[in-house]
Symmetry: C2
Subunit: 339 residues, 2 copies
């Protein structure tokens, strides 16, 4: 999809579909960034050090962007959505910090992860701090409905993470269990981030539900693509980190499909590498070859595109305009990455 | 202090001052326990398994008891305080789960800790789940003021835990830094647990402030005594676990005072054992001997008694009666443990 240049958009270098949205809510996102920096502060110096390290480590701010754009789509003209978008980012950041501890990761977005730099202990505790701060920000905005939505989403995220833990290293994991995991650990926060845009704008339940459905399907598409990218040879050529899921024995759709279609020798390979985590040099390359041979990356992307289409369709109740176009372009951004 | 037998109190075997309070709110605490069991449930089986393990592992439910009794002291006749007391216990349980991961503990209350049984990963995530559930419970009760108080307390607890991390293994830690740590990591939740009793009862700010002060001073007394018990020979004779703080290099008041009063040889001992964590058989016994020689356990208890007196004094605005007597007896319970 070609982004249409726009007068008030930032000068475009290597434009992506996300630029349209970022330009649309440029003032809002700048305000969100100020709230984030302001509210991650603490007299305990390690907190802003660690929080700043992860908050400023190149995340796309996708979830707060969704809150901002959803509120705008609903005609919201106030400023409450900025603090709520920051709260969404704090919840997301807290889960990243805890995920890296749980996964024993040393890298995130190609940089040393916060736990690798500051230790697991500080990562757990600063995650708790940011999570608490998120709720303080919500309380200040005064909407019990927003608090209800995001406390529920947070509980569901934790359930999804625990479920993922239960399926790790288990090649018998079903597609249904996997979809349950990504619906909870990823899509729940996308859905909530969008839904609160309608709530803060005081729009009726039908619009909140439509934005919830949009966010949920977008979140599933996002995670499916993320799981594809982790096996992607193209990503490796771009210098991106690949193979994290494989090395951790995390069971994702490309692997589930490849295991189902594999012969005895391939299944023995998967059992050794992801169940027993007995991996040697060359195993990741072999895993990539196997998933490519069975076409499971392309098939996972095709499923992502189905969810992406559903997401766009969910926006039907809203009037056409820049906001709706920008949200539709986010969907393209999510699925049109290089595999 | 001798507990006065009461007609509707449970039959007393080895009565403690806490029995009076427990009897006073017996119906409430039974309801709280039902809420806890009900709301820690999840389709993800590991969550109720792990949460149940720690929730039912013999905690005294001190913090929810404080919420229940505070609400009663304020004349509250509804049932909202039960869900809020459960929320307080969930927040406390979440911090215990995360603490054990941070401290790399294998024991809690003499039993294998949840992380030792279920792993650090599950402990981090189930802590997050319980924390989220706490906020869901609060949202259901509909008080933004309660949400404000407990989200703030949660942020302060996390700050206190991070500060404690920064002072660990540092014999130069000041008394002021230590008091800051325990005021945040422990007393903030005691204060909040009491304050919300006044809020749920719709009482004026002065009463909320009085209960906050009561809880805060009680919490500080509680932690001071806990830190004494960790060096206590009497506790060891009772079969209780001692020496956790020493083994982890956690800097508490008995150690701070002993270090300040120690000679060069003793300071070298503390530096080796708690700074470098280079400990050998017999070091805990020697640490206990040193703190006893300098009288730092007795002095720490004396400080706890000062805070206990302040706590009791903070209840002055409230009418005499069973509730106030029971809360005063909790103070005795906290400081009259065997050192």
């Amino acid at each position: 999809m070609t982004a249409v240049p726009h007068r008030d958009a930032a000068p475009a270098v290597a434009r992506t579909p996300l630029d349209e949205l970022t330009a649309l809510v440029a003032d809002d996102i700048a305000a969100v960034n100020r709230v984030i920096v302001d509210r991650m502060d603490s007299p305990v110096a390690l907190i802003p050090q660690l929080a700043g390290y992860i908050v400023q480590s190149g995340g796309k701010r996708l979830r707060p962007l969704l809150t901002l754009a959803s509120a705008r789509l609903c005609g919201y003209a106030g400023e409450s959505h900025r603090a709520l978008a920051a709260a969404v980012e704090f919840i997301h950041t807290a889960t990243l910090l805890h995920d890296d501890v749980v996964d024993e990761s040393n890298l995130r977005r190609g940089l040393a992860s916060a736990n690798a730099v500051f230790g697991n202990q500080a990562s757990v505790l600063v995650g708790d701090f940011l999570f608490s701060r998120a709720f303080q920000l919500m309380v200040e905005q005064g909407s019990l409905e927003v608090l209800r939505i995001l406390s529920q989403a947070s509980a569901i995220i934790a359930e999804g993470e625990v479920l993922q833990l239960s399926t790790a290293n288990d090649t018998a994991t079903t597609e249904a269990a996997y979809m349950e995991v990504i619906g909870s650990k990823t899509a729940a926060l996308f859905a909530a981030a969008c839904r609160i845009g309608a709530v803060v704008a005081g729009r009726p339940q039908t619009e909140a539900d439509a934005l919830d459905a949009f966010g949920r399907d977008l979140g599933i598409a996002f995670q499916l693509v993320d799981d594809v990218l982790d096996y992607s040879a193209a990503q490796a050529r771009l210098g991106k980190t690949v193979g994290d899921d494989f090395r951790e024995g995390k069971i994702t759709l490309p692997l589930i499909l490849a295991f189902a279609r594999g012969d005895a020798e391939e299944r023995a390979f998967w059992r050794r590498t992801v169940e027993e985590l007995d991996q040697v040099e060359g195993d990741l390359a072999r895993a990539q070859t196997i998933v490519a041979r069975h076409g499971t990356l392309a098939e996972t992307v095709a499923r992502a595109r189905q969810f992406a289409q559903k997401a766009v369709a969910a926006l039907a109740p809203f009037p056409d305009g820049r906001e709706k176009r920008a949200l539709a372009q986010v969907v393209d951004f999510v699925v049109d990455r290089e595999y």
